[in-house]
């Protein structure tokens, strides 16, 4: 692959991280924390984006980032007060910047008029704050910035200046270029290059670049060797003698070459080859101030999705910069550095997960086949077998954890949605998030983005009242939406809660009846009315707004949540707001299920929907005629569903008293009892796609492979328990053959 393309990919991946840091920093600032640390973090993020963008000649991105950065710089130097108005501008700018990054990444055309307004605002804000207007940034030659992007530049901050100065062509000065290569002896005698470099700095302003070209392959790397050299450009009035004096004590323990610096482009240092170490993805200079951890990029990262693996860095993998940086780190302690990560293609992780899935099945098969023999022959083999099972389970858990990611990034995206919708509706809204560190499988997070966006939009648009409405209800004008995530008994629960007016139940019912979505004479409980919102084609907004669409939203939301194996619940209190609760599986790869048999066939019922299991007795059964039965469970009448018949695997209806009833909870809060012949086991099963090779089957959610190597179906409880869907399913079954038979 083109090396530039892979660097470019890395740049955009980093951009994403920078945008996250930016958003987070701005949120912190908005909450009133305008300490220099926070402002610096925001500045750094924008600056890094600008630096990288310059290397790839993304002019629009650079110019916008520059304007943004200028304003931030003014705030940093206390020339500008981050009042609410400025904060709004900053947040808007962050959105624009994020859009620009996306456009640049996709190579899409950039329409300057889209952000001209914000750009103008930024420029006028910067000018209004006084201070010297900056040079025309377009004239700055950004080419050297590419070097700093690839290789670490050890930067000694000089007062209040930005942490990393773009070398500008017009920057002409007299000074020296010093090439300094410490020998291993230098370190052995307790000398420290950083101190020497710092002494150099006392002579004038310096720019120091680390030359890593001598760094060997990791396999050949020796701990006691010295591989790094430093190229230092010193702008000074001092003489060469002054410089040699600094290095006096390390004379003989290093290569030292001091050349007078010509009055020419200072930044065009030819000494650093841009791509010396393709396997190392060195962080930009700014990040060196943080605990240094090498970030390894798998070269063919391309545009493949990347999962971040959080793990302690392997010690052997920490190359030579460590001795230097360790000290630098002590000198410049920084807050919360990013957790050490490596970038791995998602494909590789998936392959590993699949393999582990196979291993789990194989282990189960082995245990099943050897079990009886081993049990009689001796305890040692049995112990090994048990140990294998435990290890396999641990391995599986660890592999699953690789895919787990905090929901933070997802939640941060919602901030922007809230901002946009609040702007459009003229409401004042604050989004509070909780439990951002909650980890969920990456695929779950990805598939959650759309439904969650919908729900948040709905909450702002429909959930919250207008400021006047709120004022007259005696509430603060600012509406609050709470977005929380938490782990709850093996599931992740995400709640979207607003403090609006709550669901207008009479209106909901009226609309549902008007649209003929429900029978005219039916009566409903409150919770049933709330659930009407999920009906296809329902919309309470009397005017269709651009924001929440045509009311297809909640229907789609529910379907996508169900597709993830999750559930959505709604609860509302008039005058106090409504709350939507999503409960989702932590992973899409395994599930806990009850293994049952129906007419000799084995099926799995997902444990998440099971409430209890019981043996129906005669006095509990209510015959409703035409083969339908209901069962009385603690004064509640629940329909009895003959699963065997519903699936068409049994011709004769089964007798309730000879079956086991499994009480399940469904979406609409209704309960059903599924009749099966026997409960065999309860175990964790690996979910296998059924649809890929076969196509969807009504009533079947997926398949799994049992210990004996045979395939078993995982039931789609929702479809089976719902009588209407069951009818559809049965008629679909009659059509199945017709559909399969290809018309000639």
């Amino acid at each position: 692959m083109d090396p530039m393309a892979s660097i470019r990919d890395t740049f955009f991946q980093e951009c994403e991280e920078q945008m996250e840091a930016l958003e987070q920093g701005l949120m912190t600032m908005e909450e009133g924390d305008t300490s220099s640390e926070t402002v610096n973090a925001v500045f750094r993020a924008v600056h890094s984006v600008k630096g990288g963008a310059g290397a790839f000649k993304l002019t629009e991105l650079v110019s916008f980032a520059h304007a943004f950065e200028t304003v931030l710089d003014k705030i940093r130097s206390n020339q500008l007060e981050p009042n609410p108005e400025i904060m709004r501008l900053l947040l808007k700018s962050a959105d624009v910047l994020s859009d620009l990054v996306c456009l640049c990444r996709d190579g899409a055309a950039i329409d300057a008029t889209q952000y001209d307004g914000v750009l103008g605002e930024l420029n006028s804000t910067a000018e209004g704050a006084g201070g010297e207007p900056e040079d025309d940034f377009a004239s700055i030659d950004f080419a050297p910035a590419m070097i700093s992007f690839d290789l670490p530049t050890i930067d000694i901050p000089a007062g209040d200046a930005p942490a990393f100065e773009m070398p500008a062509t017009e920057q002409v000065a007299t000074g020296f270029r010093i090439h300094f290569r410490p020998h291993a002896d230098l370190y052995r005698t307790g000398n420290e290059p950083l101190l020497l470099i710092r002494q150099l700095k006392s002579l004038g302003s310096i720019k120091c670049t680390c030359d890593t070209s001598a760094l060997p392959k990791l396999a050949d790397y020796k701990v006691n060797e010295s591989y790094l050299a430093f190229d230092i450009e010193l702008e000074t009035d001092a003489s060469a003698l002054d410089i040699t004096q600094i290095f006096e004590f390390v004379d003989g323990a290093c290569d030292l070459d001091i050349q007078p610096l010509m009055a020419e482009a200072a930044g065009a240092g030819p000494f650093v080859p841009p791509m010396q170490l393709p396997e190392f993805d060195m962080p930009p200079a700014e990040q060196l101030a943080q605990p240094y951890v090498p970030v390894y990029a798998i070269p063919p990262a391309a545009a493949a999705p990347v999962v971040e693996i959080v793990s302690p860095p392997p010690m052997a993998a920490a190359p030579a910069p460590v001795p230097v940086i360790d000290v630098a780190q002590k000198e410049k302690p920084t807050s919360s550095g990013p957790a050490p990560t490596i970038r791995v293609e998602l494909d590789r992780v998936d392959r590993l997960i699949n393999l582990v899935g196979e291993l789990v099945i194989n282990q189960a098969m082995l245990a099943q086949r050897l079990g009886p023999a081993v049990a009689s022959s001796g305890s040692e083999a049995l112990a090994s077998l048990e140990e294998l099972e435990r290890l396999t389970r641990d391995l599986q858990d660890s592999v699953m954890a690789i895919r787990a990611q905090p929901v933070k990034s997802l939640f941060q995206r919602m901030q922007r949605i809230v901002r946009e919708v609040a702007d459009q509706t003229g409401k004042t809204v604050r989004l509070r998030t909780e439990g951002e560190a909650t980890e969920v499988d990456k695929t779950v997070i990805e598939s959650l983005a759309d439904p969650l966006t919908h729900m948040i939009r709905n909450a702002v648009d429909h959930g919250l009242e207008s400021p006047e409405g709120r004022a007259s209800a005696g509430k603060s004008e600012e509406g609050v939406i709470k977005l929380t995530a938490a782990h709850q008994s093996g599931k992740v629960v995400i709640t979207v809660q607003d403090d609006g007016a709550g669901i207008n139940r009479p209106k909901v019912l009226e609309i549902a009846k008007k649209k003929n979505l429900v029978p005219q004479d039916a009566t409903f409980t409150d919770s049933e009315i709330d659930n009407l919102l999920f009906l296809p084609g329902f919309s309470t907004a009397t005017t269709v707004s651009a924001i929440s669409g045509r009311g297809v939203g909640m229907d789609v939301v529910r379907r996508s949540i169900q597709a993830l194996g999750g559930r959505i619940n709604i609860s509302s209190k008039p005058g106090h707001g409504s709350s939507f609760t999503l409960s989702l599986p932590l992973t899409l790869a395994v599930l806990d299920g009850i293994v049952v048999s129906i007419a000799e066939a084995i099926f799995i019922i997902p444990l998440t929907s099971v409430v209890e299991t019981l043996q129906p007795e005669n006095k509990m059964i209510l015959d409703l005629g035409e083969g339908s039965h209901a069962m009385r469970v603690r004064e509640r009448l629940v329909p009895l569903v003959d699963v065997g018949q519903a699936l068409g695997v049994r011709a004769e209806p089964s007798k309730p008293t000879e079956s086991v009833a499994i009480l399940v909870d469904t979406e609409s809060h209704s309960r059903s009892a599924l009749m099966v012949d026997r409960i065999i086991d309860q175990r964790q099963v690996v979910i296998k796609s059924f649809e890929h090779n076969y196509g969807p089957v009504p009533g079947i959610a997926a398949a799994t492979i049992l210990g004996d190597g045979r395939v078993a179906m995982i039931l789609d409880v929702e479809t089976i328990a719902d009588s209407k869907q069951r009818e559809r399913m049965e008629s679909a079954s009659k059509d199945a053959a017709a559909k399969w038979a290809k018309a000639s």
Partner: protein, 152 residues
């Protein structure tokens, strides 16, 4: 280029259903395996035997004789399952036995005669005549269920 392709011999796997011989292009065949008991799929047509575990993948197995209108098979150890791939989808075809692999040139594959039965017209894309044998070239696309239509 096109000419070369036309002259290149095609390798075909020949199998038997009753006394009739059929073949599929070897490029479409992933493997041939013995019969293993399948798990029936609810609401499936008669010719769908069920699904089996192919090294961790759920593989549907079609009763090819039944699909071609030869009546339902009673699968046994003697039967073979030809695992074919069409686009990115894999399916097993239950056949009575796999006989041989033949190499034929494109010109030896004749169009299906108009007079043949409806089954032949819909599932056979050509007839190979070889040493007095008549081997029907199976049109996998038509034998396998149409996922698009099923989804709709």
């Amino acid at each position: 280029m096109k000419k070369d392709q036309a002259n290149d011999p095609r390798e075909l796997i020949v199998f038997k259903i009753g006394e009739m011989e059929f073949c599929v292009d070897i490029i479409q065949v992933r493997e041939i395996r013995g019969w293993t008991p399948a798990t029936p799929v609810p609401h499936s047509p008669e010719f769908m035997i069920g699904v089996i575990n192919l090294r961790g993948t759920v593989l549907p197995v079609i009763d090819l004789p039944s699909r071609l209108g030869h009546g339902k098979s009673v699968p046994s150890q003697r039967h073979a399952v030809i695992v074919v791939q069409e686009q990115d989808r894999m399916t097993g075809l239950l056949v009575d036995m796999v006989s041989d692999i033949i190499s034929v040139e494109q010109k030896e594959i004749h169009p299906t005669p108009d007079v043949s039965s409806a089954i032949a017209r819909s599932f056979v894309s050509g007839i190979v005549t070889l040493e007095g044998r008549m081997i029907s070239l199976l049109s996998l696309e038509d034998v396998l269920p149409n996922l698009q239509r099923k989804a709709a």
